[in-house]
């Protein structure tokens, strides 16, 4: 899907242009993360097998696949979260803006600031709403004390939570609903000004309305950030993502424009999975 210049080309574009489905501009995007021959081992067990893919800048990329297929392991490779798991070995390379994230001089904390993460279960700190968002900027000394309130407000606004919490910033974050907590976690991730946001099943613990809110938020965030989401919910992938990758047994079976993956996948294994015939 990506040519040698790092530009994403859609299959059969000329034909679809004729049918009014797309414009060429939509299909030409810059690569933010380049994954090359990536394999991941937990001890003797291989979790990822020679994955090659380009993640588009300022777009939403969804990773789908059955449980244990490697999609979350892959996500955690992108900001080296797997470093925290003992006996983990990585082969191949991941380049963020063309620079390997595995180089010796890479500061992993700085990397995780650039590549933030939101998890399945909302996990606010047992602190106030304000302090949850201010935590990262304080730690990384991103702004002065006088600027901190503005910074927190900006992050909460970006996470579409400001209007709901502006009058209770000193209340405990744990008093918020599940959906609000998840948006708070997104605000917390945004507060350290990342470039990439990794989201691991960000809506699986949320009700449908909260889910739609988060999805709408993702679509707004992609104007500024590169988003990679892991989801069991194929319809979520189809609603928000421009690109989708299907993982199976550690292999990236197919990667392409989301509409191609869900309307006319090339690989029969993808076809079986998206049609729910997998079994």
């Amino acid at each position: 899907m990506v040519d040698t210049n790092g530009e994403v080309i859609s299959r059969g574009r000329a034909k679809r242009e004729g049918m009014g489905f797309t414009s060429p501009d939509q299909d030409r995007v810059r690569t933010k993360i380049q994954v090359e021959n990536l394999s991941l081992f937990y001890g003797n067990s291989q979790a990822l097998k020679n994955v090659n893919v380009s993640i588009a800048d300022r777009e939403i990329t969804a990773l789908i696949g059955p449980s244990g297929c490697g999609k979350s392991s892959f996500l955690r490779c992108l900001n080296r979260m797997n470093d925290l798991i003992p006996d983990t070995r990585v082969e191949g390379d991941i380049k963020l803006d063309g620079e390997s994230i595995f180089k010796k001089n890479v500061d992993v904390v700085a990397l995780r600031r650039r590549v933030g993460m939101v998890f399945q279960q909302p996990n606010p700190f047992p602190k106030s709403i304000f302090d949850n968002v201010a935590y990262g900027p304080r730690l990384h000394r991103l702004c002065s004390k006088s600027e901190l309130a503005d910074h927190v407000e900006r992050s909460l606004r970006q996470a579409a939570l400001w209007d709901e919490v502006k009058d209770k910033l000193r209340s405990s974050a744990l008093e918020l609903s599940g959906g609000q907590q998840q948006r708070l976690c997104i605000a917390r991730a945004l507060a350290v000004q990342p470039e990439v946001l990794l989201m691991d099943e960000p809506c699986s613990a949320l009700d449908p309305i909260s889910t739609f809110r988060i999805e709408e938020l993702m679509l707004e965030l992609k104007q500024q950030y590169t988003l990679v989401i892991v989801t069991h919910n194929m319809y979520q992938a189809s609603r928000v993502a421009k690109f989708t990758g299907f993982f199976l047994n550690g292999e990236l079976v197919e990667f392409g424009l989301t509409r191609d993956i869900f309307e006319r996948p090339k690989d029969p294994r993808t076809d079986d999975y998206v049609r729910g015939r997998f079994g």
Binding site: F262, E263, R264, T270, V274, R275, G276
Partner: protein, 223 residues
């Protein structure tokens, strides 16, 4: 992997039922077209009336199929081939219903012209009707067999033949109207019939193009 037993058996059977209903509608309009042409050739008013009476049944079946499609889209969130199948059926049912409507139109012409002998024996119109009927039949067959070679043939050779015949009959009937004013009314109705048959063939190519989409994922003009 495709050989494995499906884990969505209920959905599979709903899709099969949908296909069966489309084929039922297809058979119904095929019979209606056949009846309409026979009624026209034999000036058989009773048969023409039977064709017209079946239209409500065809319309109801078309509506039922559309409702089934919308239900499956809303409730089953189909993807990939399943989505393309439902999209194809949704489109094809409208095309088949229109073929039913054209059959009714031809039956009405048969009734209108039943009182007087034709100014010449009908030879070419039944021939053109035969071609159009065969296209309907072959299109349904291609849907069942997922036969892309047949799809190509329907959209090229078959449709071209019907178009050529339509064009030739137009010239002949126009010439007859110019030289024999007393046949103008009959000839004008025959012109309508050739136009209806030409449209039947076009609806077949529409369906054939959707069969191509269903099988390949490519939405393209083939005719």
């Amino acid at each position: 992997m495709s050989e494995r037993p499906s884990i969505r058996r209920t959905f599979e059977s709903q899709l099969q039922a949908l296909e069966q209903n489309l084929l039922r509608l297809g058979s119904m309009v095929e019979e209606m077209l056949d009846g309409a042409i026979t009624a026209l050739v034999n000036q058989d008013v009773a048969l023409a009336n039977r064709v017209i009476a079946r239209d409500d049944e065809a319309d109801q079946l078309d509506l039922d199929i559309e409702i089934e499609c919308m239900n499956l889209l809303a409730l089953q969130q189909p993807m990939s081939r399943d989505l393309r199948l439902i999209g194809t059926v949704l489109r094809a049912t409208t095309d088949l219903e229109r073929i039913g409507d054209y059959s009714v139109d031809i039956a009405k012409v048969a009734i209108r012209l039943s009182g007087t002998p034709y100014f010449k024996p009908l030879v070419d119109i039944p021939r053109m009707a035969q071609l159009a009927k065969k296209m309907v039949h072959d299109t349904l067959r291609a849907f069942v067999d997922r036969d892309l070679a047949a799809v190509q043939r329907i959209c090229t050779t078959d449709d071209d033949q019907v178009d050529a015949m339509n064009s030739r009959l137009f010239d002949e009937l126009l010439a007859a109207m110019q030289t024999r004013p007393e046949v103008v009314v009959q000839a004008a109705y025959f012109l309508l019939v050739t136009r209806f048959l030409e449209r039947v063939a076009d609806h077949c190519t529409n369906i054939a193009e959707r069969i191509f989409y269903m099988e390949t994922g490519e939405l393209v003009e083939l005719a």
